[in-house]
Symmetry: D2
Subunit: 261 residues, 4 copies
C-alpha cells in the first residue's frame, strides 16, 4: 500500500516530456499553463506514483522533490541552474541549521535549494533591490512550501549587510565586488563567500576585491554538463549543450589579514 496524496501536500505532476508542474493541494482550482485546469482537491487520496489525467493528457503523480521545485518554478529572471547550485551547496559547505544570505533573489531557484538544505532550524536571508522580484520569487517559494524558511529584504547588498555571523553569502548581482567588504563583515570566521558571474571581467574584479580582504582559498571555476544519450542504435553525447552559464568564485573568511607569501 503506497502513500496517498494528503490535503497539505505539494504534488508534482510530471508530463511525458519531463515538464514539471507543482500543485499545492491547498490551493484553489486554476489553470496550469501547458497542463490545463486542475482542481487540486481532486488529487486527495490518489496513490503517488500513479497516472493522473488532465483532460486527455496523462501525468505522473509524485510527491514534490527539491528537483521538482527547481524545475517547476516560474521563471522571470535568468535562473541559476541545478549544475551550478550543486557546486554552490558543496563548495560553500551548506548544511542544515545554517543561516545563509543570498542577493539577488532572481526567480528564487537558488533560494529554494538553500532553504531546502538549511532546514530545519536554518534560515535563508534574501536581499534584492527590486520588490517585484521578491514578490515573484516569494510566490515560487510559497508554491514550493519553503516560504517560511526565507526572510526577504528590499535592500542593496552593495550598500550594507545588516546581518552578521552568517555561514555563507552567495551573490548573483552584476557588481559583486562592491559587496565584498560588507560580506566579510557579515560572515562568521570560516564562512564562505560565493559569487556567480557570466563575465570574465566580473570574476577579475571580484577576485581582486577578495584578495584585499582577509579571505583565503579564493578559487574560480566553471562547471560544464553534457548529457549522454543512450539510444537504441548506441550511445553518444547529446548534440545539445549549454555553452556557458556563469563562473563561480569562492572564498573563505579568516580573521587576520592574509600574509604575503
Amino acid at each position: 500500500m503506497g502513500k496517498k496524496v494528503g490535503k497539505n501536500d505539494i504534488v508534482t505532476l510530471l508530463d511525458d516530456k519531463g515538464k514539471t508542474f507543482l500543485v499545492p493541494v491547498c490551493e484553489d482550482t486554476k489553470k496550469f499553463k501547458g497542463a490545463g485546469v486542475i482542481n487540486p482537491k481532486e488529487l486527495i487520496g490518489l496513490p503517488y506514483g500513479s497516472r493522473f489525467t488532465v483532460g486527455t493528457k496523462p501525468f505522473w503523480l509524485l510527491p514534490s522533490s527539491l528537483q521538482d521545485k527547481l524545475y517547476g518554478l516560474k521563471r522571470r529572471a535568468q535562473i541559476i541552474l541545478p549544475k551550478d547550485i550543486g557546486q554552490i551547496l558543496v563548495n560553500c559547505s551548506i548544511a542544515p541549521g545554517q543561516t545563509v544570505l543570498e542577493a539577488g533573489i532572481g526567480s528564487g531557484s537558488l533560494t529554494i535549494a538553500l532553504a531546502s538544505a538549511v532546514a530545519p532550524g536554518g534560515k535563508v536571508i534574501s536581499y534584492d533591490t527590486r520588490q517585484d522580484f521578491i514578490d515573484h520569487a516569494s510566490k515560487n517559494l510559497k508554491t514550493a512550501g519553503l516560504l517560511d524558511m526565507v526572510e526577504t529584504h528590499v535592500q542593496d547588498v552593495t550598500q550594507k549587510i545588516h546581518h552578521t555571523n552568517l555561514d555563507a553569502i552567495i551573490l548573483d548581482i552584476p557588481n559583486p565586488w562592491d559587496a565584498v567588504i560588507h560580506s566579510w563583515k557579515a560572515l562568521r570566521v570560516g564562512g564562505y563567500l560565493c559569487t556567480y558571474s557570466p563575465l570574465i571581467s566580473q570574476v577579475e574584479n571580484t577576485v581582486r576585491a577578495m584578495e584585499q580582504q582577509p579571505f583565503i582559498s579564493i578559487v574560480t571555476m566553471e562547471t560544464i554538463q553534457r548529457e549522454m544519450i543512450v539510444g537504441e542504435k548506441g550511445t553518444r553525447p547529446s548534440f545539445h549543450m549549454l555553452g556557458h552559464t556563469g563562473y563561480l568564485t569562492f572564498a573563505r573568511k579568516i580573521s587576520e589579514k592574509r600574509e604575503i607569501q
Copy 2:
C-alpha cells in the same frame, strides 16, 4: 570577539598550499603526515580564523566545514569528487530528514556529504562487501564527527536490499545494473536511484536495466569542471584539468509500469 576552539570541536588546519587537516580536539597527540606532531588539546581556547604554527609551519585554524571533511579525508579507494557530489545532492533531491542508501562506501567521501545533508533526523545506510573499506571509511566518518549518522552493513547490494521506503539510493559499484530491481523495491515512490560509472558500457547496462523497471526521468550526464586562474598578467583557464571521473545516471521510481510511448 570571535569564536574560540572548544573541547568537543573538530578543527581544520589549512596550510598555505590549501592542504587540509582535520583535528578532533578530543583525540590524543599524534603525528599528522605533512603537518607534524599535534596535541589537539593545545588548540582549546585559540581564536578561530587565526594562525597556528606546528613546528615552523603555519596553518589557518578554522571550524571544520563539509568541504574540509571532504578534502581532509584519508583516501584509500578512488573517491567521488565534490563536483559529482554536488550533482548527486541536487539531482537526487537530498534533504534533511531523509533516509538514503549508498553502496559501496569507498573512502566515505559521498557518505560524509550525504550524512551532512540529511542531518538532523535523517540517516545514511551504507553497504559494502568489504569490511576493510567499511572500517577505513568509518574512521573518516568518526574524524568528521558524522559516524552516528551512518549505519554500515557488510552486504552485497546486488544480492538484496533489506531496507525499504528509501528516499534515494546511490550506487558506486562495478555492476550497478544488478542492483536495479532491488533498488526499485527499496525506494519509496518518487525516490531517486543514482549510479556513478566511469565506463560507457556500465552506463548502457544500467540504463537498459532501469528501462525494464517502473522508473521514469532516466538521464545520464557528465560534469566537467575547469578552474579559472586570475593571475597578475591576466586570466585564463587552468592548464590542469581532470579529463573524466564518471558518468552519473539518475532515475525516479513510479509505482506503475511505464507505458510505451
Copy 3:
C-alpha cells in the same frame, strides 16, 4: 591598387550576418536563396574587399577561400564541420601531392578540404553508394572550382577498394569497421586510416577491427569548440555550443603484424 574580379574567378559574397554565397563568375544569372538574383558577369572588374549590393542588401566581395567553400556549400547530408576537418588534415598528415580516398562523399565538405590540401598534383578519390549524393556533392565541388581534383565512384567501400598505395583513407560511413581490412590493403605503408563516427559503439567496433590488422598508433579523440564573445560589457564563452559531432579514430599502416606487448 587592389585585385579585381576576373572572368574566371569564384567570388565570395559575405553578408553582414556572416552568411556566405559562392558565385562562380562564369555562371549565368540565377537566384541565390537568401541573397537575391545575381548576374555574376556584373561582378567582373569590381575591386575585391569592397561592398556590393544586391537589391538593397549589402555584401562584402571577396576572393573565395577554402573557408568560404566550406561554409558556402549547399548541405544535404550532415556535413563534417571545420573543427573536425582541421583535426583530420593534421592527424592524417595530408599534404600537397597526395592521393587520398574518402567514403562517403556526403555533401562534399571534407572532399573540398582534402582537394584543396592535396592540390596541385594530388587527387581525391571519393566513394559513395548513392549516385544522388555524388551528384549533389559534385555540384558543390564545381561551384568551389575543385571538381577536377576529385574522382568519384558509385561504390561501396565496405565491399572493396580497388585503388592502392593511398596516402590516407577517411571513412564517414555507418559501419567503418567493415572497411578496415580493405583500407589496410589500399593504404601505402605509413598511410593513415581515419574514421568519423557519432556513436561509441561505432568507435569500439572500429578500434577492435583496426587492432586485428597491422595498424599502429590507434587513437580516438573528440574535439570540442567554444566561441568566446568579446562584447562591450566584457568577455565570456558563448552560451551556444555544439555538444557533439563525432569521434575521430586514427590508425597508421605498418607492414608486419603488430607484436603482442
Copy 4:
C-alpha cells in the same frame, strides 16, 4: 614489394610508447636521446613498415609524415599543438602556393605545418626577435626537410612588416594587438589574420585592435580535445586532458572601413 628507405629520405622511428624520432638518412651517426646511437646509413634499403632495433629497443620504421615532424621536433619554447594547428589551417584557409607569415617562430611546430601546407610553390615567412629561437627552429625545419620552404627574419612584427600581399598572418606573440595595423597592411584583401593567446586580456586587446581596422568576420574560439580510451573492460574518456592551450582569434581583411551596424 614495399617501399624501401632511400638515401635522401627522412625516416621516422616510432617506439612502442608512441615516441617519435626523425632521422634524416643523409646525417652522420649520432645519439638520439631516448633511442640510442644510430647510423642513419644503416637504414638504407630497409623496408618501410618493418621493425628496426637500436640496441635491444625495437622501433617501427616509417616514411616521415607531417605528424611525425610535429611530434618529433625538439621543443624549446612552448609549441602550438596539433589541435590548434588544425584550426589555424582550416580557418585561415591555408592552401598550396600561398605565402604566409608567422611570428614568432617558437620551436617551429606551426612553421612545419604551414610549410607542408603551402608547398609546392608557396612560402612561409617567419619573424622572430630572437636569433636563438630562429636557429633552434631552423634545425627542426632542416630535420623535417622543410627548411627551403621557410624564410626567417630577425625582426619584430610589432614594429613593421615589410612583406606585402600575404595570404595569411599568424601571430603567436605576447602583444599581437601591436601588430594588427601592420598585419592589415601586409595582407592581401580577403587574407586572414590569426592570433594565438593564452590570456583573456590578450584576446580582448587584439579584438579591440582588429575592430579599429577594416577587418571582418572577427571570431575567437577555444578548441578542447579529449582522448577516448577503448579498453578491454570498456570505453571511457581519458582521465588525462589538457585544460587549456590558447584562444585563437581570426579576422579577415577587407579594403573599406567596416560600417557601423
